[in-house]
């Protein structure tokens, strides 16, 4: 299991062709809707030419592969006075993700906790089971990346079944899980055992990310647990529009809404859709009472959930430091500087 293997770029292309030919769904960073101007995102590819492993971080996280933005829970049909329910399948097509970012692969494992406690979400785990993640070490980062501040790194293998490290001529392959082993067994010919250690192209990246934000999640959690009413919340949240974009691009945000979509009077689909705690309607009671009545309360919930509540319930930070919420925010909400400020305050210095 621990033997390193080598996957040349030509063999990776061949592997992609093999998988597609075998009927496996292959997901990789690619131009969204085939158009260069719409940016790079994770999407289904049919050929190696569509795969963009050296491009920028995909604009949306990987979670949509396991947790689609909208998904049917069941269908119903009204027949005279009776209602018939049609189940949706919980078996899913085999999917292989190629070139997942470490922050995105880790996100899946972090969300497993909430999807599996007590009640097991078969739709989530059905897709998880069907999906093999071949993650790849990052070769670039930007000033919004902060995975090292939440216990990950550009080379962390969490959530990965294979871990690819870019080296000259291709990738060094670490097989991380039994699921990864199963894929290797099928495509061994594409990945001969590696000769010697090839120089990795990821050197220096970890220090670069650490320079963006160097904080301790346990220290931040300690501060959050005792500063529910801190003036920081209002000051920071004032500029938030409550649009929820941060949640939609987040690898670990998993809140959802359940709605009915009738196709007429007699049938329809109950679906779950991504939702965000940043919108005003999220917690609104039928009576008109809203326990999180302003954006300050809603923004605080987002930070508390990620850095205090989730760690308290599951021992995991609900953030993988991908930095997308920082990049996408129209109002310039900057989680990197907010976490830095909280960490400073937790050490007894600085304003917060």
């Amino acid at each position: 299991m621990n033997t390193k293997r080598m996957l040349s770029r030509a063999n990776l292309d061949a592997l992609i062709r093999d998988l597609v030919a075998a009927g496996t769904v292959v997901v990789a960073p690619t131009h969204s809707s085939g158009q260069e101007r719409t940016g790079v995102t994770y999407g289904q590819v049919q050929s190696p030419d569509e795969v963009l492993l050296d491009g920028p971080q995909p604009i949306r996280p990987l979670k949509g592969v396991v947790f689609p933005p909208t998904e049917a829970l069941f269908r119903w049909r009204q027949e005279k006075s009776a209602v018939k329910i049609e189940e949706v399948p919980t078996g899913f097509k085999e999917t292989v993700v190629i070139g997942a970012r470490p922050c995105d692969a880790a996100g899946l494992e972090v969300v497993d906790c909430v999807m599996g406690w007590d009640f097991r979400d078969e739709l989530w785990f059905g897709r998880r089971q069907a999906t093999t993640v071949l993650a790849m070490a990052c070769t670039t980062c930007d000033e919004s990346c902060f995975c090292t501040a939440v216990g990950l790194s550009p080379t962390s293998t969490r959530g990965a079944d294979w871990f690819l490290t870019p080296v000259d001529g291709g990738f060094e392959v670490d097989v991380v899980t039994p699921k990864g082993e199963a894929i290797l067994d099928r495509y061994k010919a594409r990945c001969p055992e590696a000769g010697g250690a090839a120089p990795s192209r990821t050197a220096g990246l970890e220090q670069q990310v650490r320079a963006n934000l160097d904080v301790r999640p346990d220290r931040i959690r300690g501060w959050l647990e005792t500063h529910f009413d801190d003036p920081l919340w209002k000051r920071v949240a004032l500029r938030c529009h409550g649009c929820g974009a941060c949640a939609f691009v987040c690898p670990s945000c998993h809140c959802f809404d359940i709605v009915d979509e009738p196709d007429g009077a007699a049938s329809g689909t109950r679906r779950r859709n991504w939702d965000s705690c940043q919108t005003a309607l999220f917690t609104l009671h039928g009576s008109g009472h809203n326990p999180r009545k302003d954006q300050t309360a809603r923004f605080r919930q987002r930070i508390m959930h990620k850095f205090s509540i989730y760690p308290a319930r599951f021992g995991e930070v609900l953030c993988t430091g991908c930095g997308r919420c920082v990049r996408v925010c129209a109002a310039g909400m900057d989680l990197v500087s907010i976490l830095a400020e909280i960490d400073r305050a937790a050490q007894g210095g600085g304003e917060a």
Binding site: F74, I85, E87, T90, D257, D275, P291
Partner: protein
């Protein structure tokens, strides 16, 4: 069948409690589900009308009465308005039971003081009937109930029944201005009535449910009367979608109302941030 797929239930009976509050009696269409369905007083469910969506309420009938469940609701949103349009014989959906419950086993042999306001009587009514159906296992049963006006009192037929029972002490009030010429109860707010009655905390559990403003004034009052905060129970009703601890909206701090609640002691409430 995944977690989000409801059981089919049929509307057997409906009663209009007030001008805007209705009670449904629901039976499971699948006999096997009806047979194995069981719950405890205080638990809740997700009720749905196909095409309109789901909404969350407690189960208002007691677990001691098998074969059906009851739900009392006000038409305030899309799903409850659609429920309001249903007729006897129509089919709707139910998922549950979810959440924790009132620890009635622990309360056996003790006095129970029920304090409810408005539609808050619904979850309390489930416990009241559970207690009355096992009457010999509890000591004094006292009910303090109030609403904005006489027209807003729910379960009127049952209030009459409780008033007539020798083994139940019932005190009722309506807000000033909400009385009618023949109103015999008090004219004040629920906390005022509790203060006037000054119930003894000795060997007594209190179960309190009502609008936030009533809870806010009643809990400190009970504390002043000497009730231990772990002998005072209430139920929280945050907005939910899944009821299963996943959709992420009912939490109050690190507590999920759908899984750690909806039933909490006053002692637990004190440790929570004010987000309910």
């Amino acid at each position: 069948m995944n977690l989000y797929q409801p059981h089919l239930v049929r509307v057997e009976e409906m009663v209009d409690e007030t001008i805007d509050t209705r009670t449904f009696k629901l039976s499971f269409e699948d006999a096997a589900v009806a047979e194995r369905f069981d719950f405890k007083a205080g638990q809740f469910g997700e009720y749905s009308v196909f095409g309109a969506g789901e909404c969350t309420f407690c189960i208002a009938s007691p677990p001691t009465r098998k074969g059906y469940i009851e739900a009392s609701f006000k038409a305030v949103g899309k799903a409850t308005r659609a429920m309001r349009r249903l007729n006897v014989g129509d089919t709707m959906g139910f998922r549950g039971p979810y959440g924790n419950y009132f620890p009635l086993d622990q309360m056996m042999g003790k006095n129970i003081l029920f304090i409810a306001g408005g539609i808050g009587l619904a979850p309390v009514r489930c416990v009241i009937w559970n207690t009355l159906d096992l009457r010999d296992r509890f000591r004094d049963v006292t009910i303090v109930y109030g609403a904005r006006s006489v027209a807003d009192l729910v379960y009127k037929r049952e209030l009459e029944e409780w008033a007539g029972r020798s083994d139940v002490i019932l005190h009722q009030c309506v807000d000033p201005g909400g009385e009618t010429p023949d109103w015999k109860g008090d004219i004040c707010f629920v906390p005022t009535l509790v203060e006037k009655l000054a119930p003894s905390p000795h060997d007594t559990y209190a179960i309190v449910c009502g609008p936030p403003i009533m809870i806010t004034f009643t809990l400190p009052l009970l504390e002043k009367l000497g009730f231990a905060s772990d002998h005072v129970y209430t139920t929280l009703e945050n907005r939910m979608k899944c009821g299963l601890g996943k959709c992420g909206r009912c939490n109050v701090g690190s507590v999920y109302v759908c899984k750690d609640g909806p039933v909490f002691t006053a002692a637990q409430l004190k440790t929570l941030p004010p987000e309910y």
